[in-house]
Symmetry: C2
Subunit: 328 residues, 2 copies
């Protein structure tokens, strides 16, 4: 069945039954002019939005609508995590071609819903419009954060440790493989991080509760680009040690398949959704004691005058080139 | 200068300087992963989103980028008003072609900014991405509302008065003229409501403070469509009196220019952004005493069994046909 057949209100009715959920925080959800949500009394609000456009941010030749839906919400949840917060609710603006199959639109929403359920971010409403060319997905997420837990890009201080969660490089590796090689011949472990990334909400909550985090950002455009943002906003410099960068083990061996070096991938892979953060050096030991998830200390914050450097395995210091993803 | 020349970060820098504002409620704004906002302690939150796509929702042949920006925010502000709330902050997802002129993108944002300033809704962040074909604008607005002031679509009760703010029909009249006739030959009063509509935030605040409003909705798809939403959600029917519908005086005389009847326009014109609401009949006198803005009692709520009717000037009752705007 095509969307134009059931019409706008038919679609809303379907989404209301299947997708949009109500929990104790949601006072009014889809089916009204706007959603009404209850937040905690002592918290501040976080608002963020991200857009994904077909053929620009994703290609249905190599990813499913469920994966696109999942990632479109995760990109926003990762921003909430980067601010030290937790999600409250999301709204979806969706542009779809008239000839879209209802089942396919539902699958896209189910991807969002699945991420929303896993990370406690119910979808509460939105706007579905006609798009003359391809899918256009824009999601906004509302979150909340304790005042003392807010982690901005601008709080890094000299001598801070520079840390990163998880490991890096796999997302771009997966994307480049998908562009070159039929998906069914690829190992699922190679492409999973690109297709179904996870926002580091739990990790962020653990960090803001147990440490004084001076600055934090999520890695959506690549480590080199994000460290540059922190340095600019905080008016500091940073030194990164190549040997300490947590390169994903799969790409250590296989980066040559896409003619890249593992280091290049780890420095510049976008859509990793890991957290990059800085905190006072006194926490070194306490960081080492974290067992529930992986954290690597990869460098330190220095003065702005010293700039952004990377120290190679040969011990030589070079300028850190910034080659992350940009939209234009 | 084209966008691709200054790049994504050049654009963000420019917007940060010129567009995105910070007031006492805004703790963190553009330039971080997400915005952080303070809300009032005793209030609930409202979240809404609306998307506008070039050639579907607007055509730059007959409207300016400033007007498009203005309207894209107003559509959201109107939803906040319809819930009985006031805006807190907005975020913008914008898809733009690579060859866009920086000055033009800035003008679009300035339209949003102008509406944001007038209606106290600062823009606090967003996401700017590449769109392969035309502008794609999606805005999400966060608002707040007192628990006792929430006005949904589902609270209408039998014997309620059905009321509408302002007058109706002019928005579609303006749009149809713009499609047919060069803009410069048109009177500005004919096209102003279509191009620069106003959200009824002040009116909504006055209403929820001074009356018990049982249901409310904004007229974005046309009166006939919106009364249908209230009836469905509230499980009631309604009778509307033709002679009481506040038809805009300009279209009374000129509707023939576009081969429509004034009544047809008043019933089905979308993007009016007037408020349609219902309240107990005991308020009739108090409504009459409102001097600051126009309110018309156009009918009453009846049982669901009686359906949706319109009583003509001849006194005859007909079914109210629903011909408002739908996206598919």
């Amino acid at each position: 069945v095509k969307i134009e057949k059931i019409g706008e209100f038919g679609l809303i009715k379907l989404l209301r039954k299947k997708i949009f959920s109500k929990d104790r925080r949601i006072i009014v959800n889809i089916g009204d002019d706007a959603a009404v949500i209850k937040s905690s009394k002592d918290k501040l609000l976080i608002l963020t939005t991200d857009a994904l456009i077909e053929k620009v941010h994703f290609d249905l030749k190599y990813c499913t609508l469920l994966e696109v839906g999942w990632k479109s919400l995760v990109a926003n949840l990762s921003d909430i995590a980067a601010m030290g917060g937790t999600p409250l609710a999301g709204v979806v603006s969706l542009g779809i071609p008239k000839k879209s199959e209802v089942g396919k639109v539902l699958t896209l929403y189910q991807g969002m819903q699945k991420a929303g359920k896993k990370y406690n971010c119910p979808l509460v409403g939105g706007d579905t419009v006609f798009s003359p060319k391809g899918l256009v997905i824009s999601i906004a997420v509302l979150g909340e954060v304790k005042k003392e837990s807010i982690t901005t890009r601008s709080g890094a201080k000299q001598r801070d440790l520079v840390c990163v969660t998880g490991d890096l490089g796999l997302s771009q590796f997966g994307l480049e493989l998908l562009k070159k090689i039929p998906r069914k011949t690829l190992k699922s472990t190679w492409i999973k991080k690109h297709l179904l990334p996870e926002p580091r909400i739990e990790e962020s909550q653990f960090l803001v509760k147990n440490f004084r985090i001076n600055s934090m950002i999520d890695i959506s455009d690549g480590l080199s680009s994000e460290i540059n943002h922190i340095a600019n906003e905080s008016k500091v410099g940073a030194i990164i040690y190549e040997e300490k960068i947590p390169i994903n083990p799969l790409i250590q061996k296989n980066a040559k398949l896409i003619n890249k070096s593992p280091l290049d991938l780890a420095l510049n892979s976008g859509e990793e959704y890991e957290l990059l953060f800085t905190l006072p050096e006194k926490y070194q030991k306490k960081l080492d004691s974290i067992k529930d998830f992986k954290i690597s200390v990869i460098g330190k914050i220095v003065s702005a005058r010293e700039g952004l450097k990377i120290v190679g395995k040969d011990g030589k210091k070079r300028n850190l080139e910034f080659k992350g993803y940009t939209h234009f």
